[in-house]
Symmetry: D2
């Protein structure tokens, strides 16, 4: 069988290189083009020397005709505003699309605009007519539209993956009151991307942790939409993003007010049941020793599920690698579903430790 | 005027060395003895070489007669169970006591036992009769018993300092419903003390964050007691301790359900009013860029005070150096009050950055 | 064809888990037993949770009969003094041996004893009669005895791998005067093993670098022996080990006095020629941007080869992952040669970055 | 007595803020102006929030008349090319100058140009006539011109401080052959300054060490000049700069070929004798446990002095805080000498640990 021809736009960033690492090991995929706005003409392995001998292809300008050759799948590992301008053209040439930005995570233009406003740099969506056909790309939500018929997937954001894998069971089973869920989320610095900035300059970040963008986190839109879809009622999430001096990892502490009738045991059972079909999600009780190091470099999400009986509070602690399950790994998982492959193809791997 | 003669028991640990650093710079204090269970006979500056030429005193066994000479103040920079056995004897010889452990943070034996049980290694208190006379040592709570008449102070725990400076105004002004406050607290590793352990071995900790002791955090007792004292009604706190790979710093995110009538502005005003008399607490709104690096090495606590109007949630983010305002600095601040000195003596310093 | 049955003694340490990671991905190997002195009865994946679902075998006591079943290869991922006591028995049952310690790195008892003395805890070798038959396990030295006939291999030490890959070409081609080679070597902390110790406690190590064991580094013996074998004349090495706050990586700067006649170009050519047959060694000139991150998680060694013409000094900078090419990866490479497999089997992989 | 009026140009960078921290604690100094090219109009304490309440002065453009008011001392905490353009004017108004860059470290234009060429961005010196009157600012070299008559001091570079404190005794006492000294120097990342760059972006630097600028390190000029001045014969230094993931600290390993007649003891004695009058230099033998953490935040330099008898090699290991003894602390020490104050004023402090 012919291999899936994959094109990566935004190949030079953290999302791009993580994706290339996974695609190089994917038995059904060949990379036909790497494109980016920066580092054009540079070999991928000069930009990322650990790939020397493994991926020596040259990064093309996306305007280069060689970058516009047809592909079976195009990954836009790009910031907001890129995929929306090129997805239609690529689809017209037969490609399926996985976009890493917020461009295709929303089904209506209103929700996109709310997201874009909260992100702090409002964009006018270039292809609003594509939104109703786009699918939110988080396989564990089991949206039936995410499968062999999907042509356009908005890969879930890293914070949203972390929060939704931890709260989806609670929303679906209506374990918690929907009015005030709290998502206290700590991310490693690779989540901010590859571009140097003063707050992530090594000496500034080395011994510092801080909350950021308290006024307007855009991730809330994506999370609340998905919770409503899965649970059938609207939720409100207080979201606090924090940066800690690590390279990879998101640890999210999720809190909700437990509905009557639930116990520690029934909550744990419901979580285990919900995630039983999800090969990358592991559920632990509060006695387990779990840390982000255990999922580093892998597509796994480890959840600790706990109930504080004194206050009738559900507490879930979610651990992912922001660059794998939070980004490139989840994208490949989506791609596998879109091409009818087992979702674990090329992904069912452990990371490395220490 | 004669200097205050200070004795430090537990001199070799992180609490002890931090205290020695501050006392060496204190114009009214002289260190008369350093004692510890480990490293007996070693010069302080051999154990802590940065002090070479500044503190070359030998660490004595606390059983050594030279360590039992009278002092004006004895600091027990020791774990639970030490101060409770020796405080009375030192007081009988005229000393005032500042104890770093949980031994004297509670006014009743019942509360101490609840604390001790939650700490996971229940101790029988050796001097329960001293508890009613002990004062909880966090100056910003403005307990009138903490002052020139205090003879026995239980220095507040680092997590409790972080949480209480952030929640005391809310409790006192009754801004939040008391049933479910959430304290999501991230600590640097020095908070675990100097003794090596597998979870804090460098390669194991380097790229790892995790929650720990989910079932039984003892800090809740201390926090709930203080909130009740200051606000006049009982509170319940969900507490999640997390370890992040840093040396110093605690970042706590505190959440509560806002009572009717409060706005972002009135909340900020009330916080600023409460802390106006507290030289080490700074209050910021959510637009401020604040991180733990800004308080590193100093006795300051920086608070961001915010209201999420959509969910009527109070969100306070508290930043301290766990070894200074969270431990030795707070202890010296207590000592200053106990000896009628300005509470800022030897403490009103900035840290260093980067 | 039947798979190679592999037994790992010392499975729970950093060497052991690194080896297990590689063997799990090796198409010709099955792990038949994991043994260790600590953590007996614990599942490997409870000790190392990233392996959950991938290696759930129980760690056995090496005294357990199940740990004494015959195997085709036994890896002693153990400290000095273990392999020497058990290698003969395992060989008698048909196994080939790869030992991670210094037990079988020397061909004579005199050299072993010199090594052991410099290591600071002199041991009496339990099986000196095996030494003449042992082979030093660094494939790039191209010792003809390392191959399908080898039954007992002393896997090279991590510092020695780093230094020898950088100096072997100079020794073989007689580029440098042998009297005073300088090896200034910086290691990440995983090189010290998994056992917690005060110097590698996170807060103590976080912002600290230091040289250590200045008086007696044992690695000199191993390095000087190999240089003499390959170059035919004795060498003397000044060795300085330094610890830096990282998890993985060794960076060694190697200096020698250049013999007459050599130029930057001829030196580079000779290095490229020497390493042309070595799939895991890459040679760069001084203009290349090379760091330990580029080899992290892989079996590669990246060398920068440079000449300081002003002082006629050869300067080589060597980069490895101490746990892969410096330990488990090199061990698997040796095993591949011992079983007639391509030496790259299961090893020709890139790491991950960032 | 009136205080010394100090002006800081380049106040916002790491050099500037380190200097401000020290001057704020200096009993004889008042800061009269802070100037910089960036962050003009910003309060120092908004740029560096740890100084809030301690230094709230506004950063002025250096073109601002308020920044041109006369001062007794002007510190140019600026890169190459700034001080050379303004020193004369400031001196004409009565100021003494301490410049942090290479602008005034050389006494002849030829040496400056060699330095500038090796630095990779050759500059034409704007005030070559000032060079003969400039003094190299490293107090421990005991240049008689560095004192109350000095008006223009080129503050020593951080690498040069680290190397010269370690090699000056050897040069002066002619312990080592001058043809090939090796300086293998590892610096923390703050040495690269405050400006973000891709190589020091947190995720890129976190788990990476590397050598850099192998072809042209400018520090050699400064080091060789000083060694020749102190020893009376020319030296040649092989210099290797390496970056390690830390915030503060330089560890330099220095190697030289020992002249006949010297022993471990006589070398140590000579070092102790040379540095006996230097309050900030401590000399240890190789048995001492010394690391960069012991000098962090202080103006001390700790030296380990060792001889490898087998190869007749002198090995000195030098530890400083690159931002204190390597920069701002050394600058204040120079200033103290220029104003006839004890050189330890405001500087004889320990850092903090952990």
């Amino acid at each position: 069988m012919a291999k899936i021809r994959a094109k990566v736009v935004g190949a030079g960033g953290y999302g791009g290189v993580g994706l290339v690492e996974l695609l190089l090991g994917h038995p059904e995929v060949e990379i036909v083009a790497l494109a980016a706005a920066a580092d054009v003409g540079v070999a991928m392995s000069d930009l990322w020397p650990h790939l020397k001998g493994f991926c020596d292809q040259t990064i093309l300008s996306y305007d280069d005709p060689r970058a516009r050759e047809p592909a079976d799948v195009v990954f836009f590992a790009t910031p907001d505003g890129v995929g929306m301008r090129h997805a239609e053209e690529e689809m017209a040439r037969g490609a399926r699309i996985v976009d890493f930005s917020g461009d295709f995570r929303f089904q209506t233009i209103e929700r996109y605009e709310e997201y874009s406003r909260r992100a702090g740099k409002p964009l006018r969506h270039a292809s609003p007519h594509l939104l109703p056909g786009a699918v939110y790309g988080l396989p564990e939500l089991e949206d039936p539209r995410l499968g062999a018929d999907s042509r356009l997937v908005g890969n879930a954001g890293c914070f949203a993956v972390s929060v939704l894998l931890g709260l989806a069971p609670a929303a679906q089973r209506r374990m918690v009151r929907p009015g005030r869920l709290i998502a206290d989320c700590k991310t490693a610095i690779s989540g901010a991307g590859k571009k140097p900035q003063s707050g992530h300059h090594y000496p500034a970040r080395y011994e510092n942790m801080n909350a950021y963008r308290l006024g307007g986190h855009q991730h809330v839109c994506e999370i609340e939409d998905a919770l409503e879809r899965i649970g059938g009622r609207p939720h409100r999430v207080v979201f606090t993003a924090q940066a800690v001096p690590m390279c990879r990892g998101i640890l999210s502490c999720l809190y909700g007010e437990l509905e009557d009738g639930w116990t520690t045991e029934s909550v744990l059972d419901a979580y285990r049941d919900f995630h039983a079909r999800h090969p990358f999600v592991r559920v632990f009780d509060r006695s387990a020793a779990v840390g982000t190091a255990h999922v580093r470099g892998s597509n796994f999400c480890n959840l600790i599920v706990d109930v504080d009986e004194r206050t009738r509070t559900l507490r879930v602690i979610s651990h992912i690698d922001n660059l794998v399950k939070g980004q490139a790994g989840n994208a490949v998982q989506n791609m596998n579903l879109m091409f009818g492959l087992p979702q674990t193809t090329s992904l069912y791997r452990f990371g490395s430790n220490p």
